[in-house]
């Protein structure tokens, strides 16, 4: 496998200046390479003194060189700020997570959790024909990185999370599943989601959600199988308005709350079971609740939490508190 | 001098120059008083020449590197007229 440092040496002999990695903002690795295992590259990068530990790690669904060529800032004049803000958009959309190199490295070596990275892709006219066989619009979060129906010439898209097992890529999560991941691990800031409308089967209501209390997770091991319980408390504001509904009525709000609770519980459960049964990796760091029960390191290693995670059962409780709707309820 | 040291070996040279200069300074005396007198050596932290000096109206102890005959510049309550009522 060719090493990064040798590649940099070749580049140094080609251009007139010396490559210095101290302003590197993001590291892009393609899916194909990630499937084979990237521990060597990550270790080399972490050992490099010039590289800051807080640059982001992105796994791209296309070739990495295409990803970089397509990064043309449309609304920014300075490309450094473009990268900063593009990668931080997860704070207000919740569709991906801000994963830094230090986080990735420590998760890769940790015994309580596994690593994950940002999923990126190109969303351009040229790639639209690859996804013509997708189902029609489901929800805004059901897409991965280069699937959203946006009309653009060129452009990057960071949506979803790439799930690793040790250092190999094993799966990808869509936008909604990334939002569920953020909700469970207490990294969620705020986002707009859509829930099915209880009064009108064909339409959706959009809610702006954020935490009201920190989420609580507890793990009990009974007979060797883990039982994981998550309690999440959210506050929501209704963003979309319908002329038929009365948003000041207690019953309406209660119904919408119940629908929101069950919708979120279902999404979070399906995300958790997907990581446990299909991908068999624990990216939510549930191992940290289990490690308290062991008194020596050898006991902990023998219990092999990372392998045992696939047998776990989940219970999710979501409590949403809808504050009022917007300013106008009736015109 | 520090420029030359910095040219030779960067931060290391400047640190070395700083160390040597401070060592020479702390060894030298002027008129019998050490050069870095009120700050090093640290003997009495409540005199009126030390790291944190109190405001003017609270300075009562003389600096000890002067080897004065009396350590306090005035009596214990210097502004007697302030606290005594009536005629003295």
């Amino acid at each position: 496998m060719p090493l990064l440092t040798l590649g940099i040496a070749l580049v140094n002999s080609y251009i007139s200046k010396k490559v210095n990695l101290s302003h590197c903002k993001a590291i892009v690795i393609s899916e194909e390479l990630a499937n084979e295992g990237i521990s060597e590259y990550i270790f080399t990068l972490v050992n490099n003194l010039e590289l800051r530990p807080d640059c982001n790690v992105i796994i791209s669904r296309c070739r990495a060189s295409d990803y970089l060529e397509n990064s043309q800032p449309t609304l920014e004049s300075v490309s450094a700020r473009y990268y900063e803000f593009t990668l931080n958009s997860s704070e207000y959309t919740g569709f991906t997570e801000d994963v830094k190199l230090s986080n990735f490295y420590s998760d890769m070596l940790s015994t309580t959790t596994q690593a994950h990275a940002i999923l990126g892709g190109i969303n351009a006219n040229s790639t639209h024909q690859n996804h013509s066989n997708l189902p029609p619009y489901d929800t805004e979060g059901s897409y991965k990185a280069d699937e959203t129906p946006i009309k653009s010439e060129t452009g990057l898209e960071n949506m979803g999370i790439a799930v690793f097992k040790k250092d190999k890529l094993v799966g990808e999560l869509t936008g909604m599943e990334s939002l569920c991941h953020l909700l469970v691990v207490n990294k969620f800031e705020s986002a707009v989601i859509s829930i099915p409308n209880p009064y009108n089967v064909d339409s959706v209501i959009s809610l702006y959600i954020s935490y009201s209390k920190k989420p609580k997770t507890s793990v009990k091991i009974i007979n060797g199988t883990p039982y994981i319980e998550c309690n999440i408390n959210l506050t929501a504001n209704i963003h979309s308005l319908d002329k038929d509904l009365n948003y000041s009525d207690q019953n309406t709000l209660k119904t919408i709350e119940e629908y929101a609770n069950s919708y979120l519980e279902q999404s979070i459960s399906s995300y958790l079971y997907k990581t446990a049964k299909e991908y068999k990796t624990d990216i939510g760091n549930f191992g940290r609740h289990v490690i308290n029960n062991y008194s020596t390191w050898n006991d902990w290693i023998e219990s092999d939490w990372l392998y045992n995670y696939q047998n776990s059962f989940f219970t999710v409780n979501v409590e949403t508190n809808i504050e009022s709707g917007e300013l106008y309820t009736k015109l | 001098m520090y420029i030359i040291l910095g040219y030779i070996s960067g931060f290391l040279g400047i640190a070395i120059g700083l160390f040597i200069q401070l060592a020479i300074l702390s060894n030298s005396k002027s008129f019998g008083v050490a050069y870095l007198a009120p700050y090093l050596p640290v003997t009495n932290l409540s005199t009126d020449a030390s790291y944190f000096v109190p405001p003017m109206w609270q300075r009562e102890k003389r600096a000890d590197f002067l080897n004065t005959k009396q350590p306090r510049s005035q009596g214990k309550i210097s502004m007697k007229w302030k606290f005594w009522k009536g005629n003295k």
Binding site: N292, N298 | I8, F11, I16, A23, I24, P41
Partner: protein
Amino acid sequence: MNSLQKIGKFEAIALVVIVTINQIIFNLPNTIIINTGSSAWLNVIYISIIAILFCVLICKLFKKFPTQDIVDISEYLGGKVLKLIIGLLYILFFIFISGIFLRYMAISLKLIYFEESPIVFLLLLFLVPVIFAIKLGIKSTSQVNLLFTPIVLFSMLIILFSTAKDFVPERIFPILGFGADKTFLIGLNNIFTFSCFAYLYFLMPVLKNPEDFKKIAISSIIISAIYLFLSVVCLLMMFPFIAFSDEMLSVYLLTRLIEFGKFFQRVDAIFIFVWILSLLSFLSLTAEFTIRIFKKLTKIKNHKEMGYSLCAIIFSVALIFNSISDIKYIQNELLKYIVISLVFVISLIILVLANFKHKKGNVA
């Protein structure tokens, strides 16, 4: 003139504390964590309590011999032969420690900043201020040390508290780490981190007021123990891999993660500057003590000129090691046993026997 130079209370405390701080910078917490796993913090509390008790014992034993250091006591006990042996052992010990730390720092600096310079150059540059300091005597060296020590201590605190937001408290579990026996029984070996006791033994003759010895000893050991504990806890909670891999400067890795918003990033250069200053103080003080022991053993009139040859010896000791793996092996395996046997066992035996002889002498 130099034998009449005395140092005050705060300077003595700073002297002893800077020894432990230097050891923290040069990867000592890493040695503890590798041996005991995630229970390193329990281990540090345990050995700190033992070190404080040991310190109280040493103060009691030294009470009968004011203004005498351990070489004088061994002369009182066993005559010139014992004095020569103990003096030589301590000289070798100090030279050895100086050589190791010097080489370690030079290699680390070479990796970080001076990749193209030959290491001989860096070693020589470090030894130049040491020669100056020896010529100027212990008073000015300890005063410069007193100036730098609070800066070093404050910088350590900044490192520890600005990375606090990224702590992961679950990393201090499992509680007993690699096992209760490794934490408490074999972990007793980790008392080698308090090798500052060797400096306490030689502190008596240079103090202005020998009555302050007890206060100085206890406060310096407490400060060293607090800093050791804080650094071990911080390293343990930040990095999950530190118990299993060998880094060069673990605390440097901590400084790379300090970030105050978008403006203050990568402030590690300031800390390197401060650590260079602390290493210079440490080397000067060690060399000064070595020359004092040498003066007691021989009859040289102008022993300040010995500074040149001493620095040459330290330089050659620093060059003995071929690579970093030699130094790491010595730090992790050999240094433990050397420090424990010399500083704790042999010196304690000498002090106890000398006290017995003193009592017998008084009774008879």
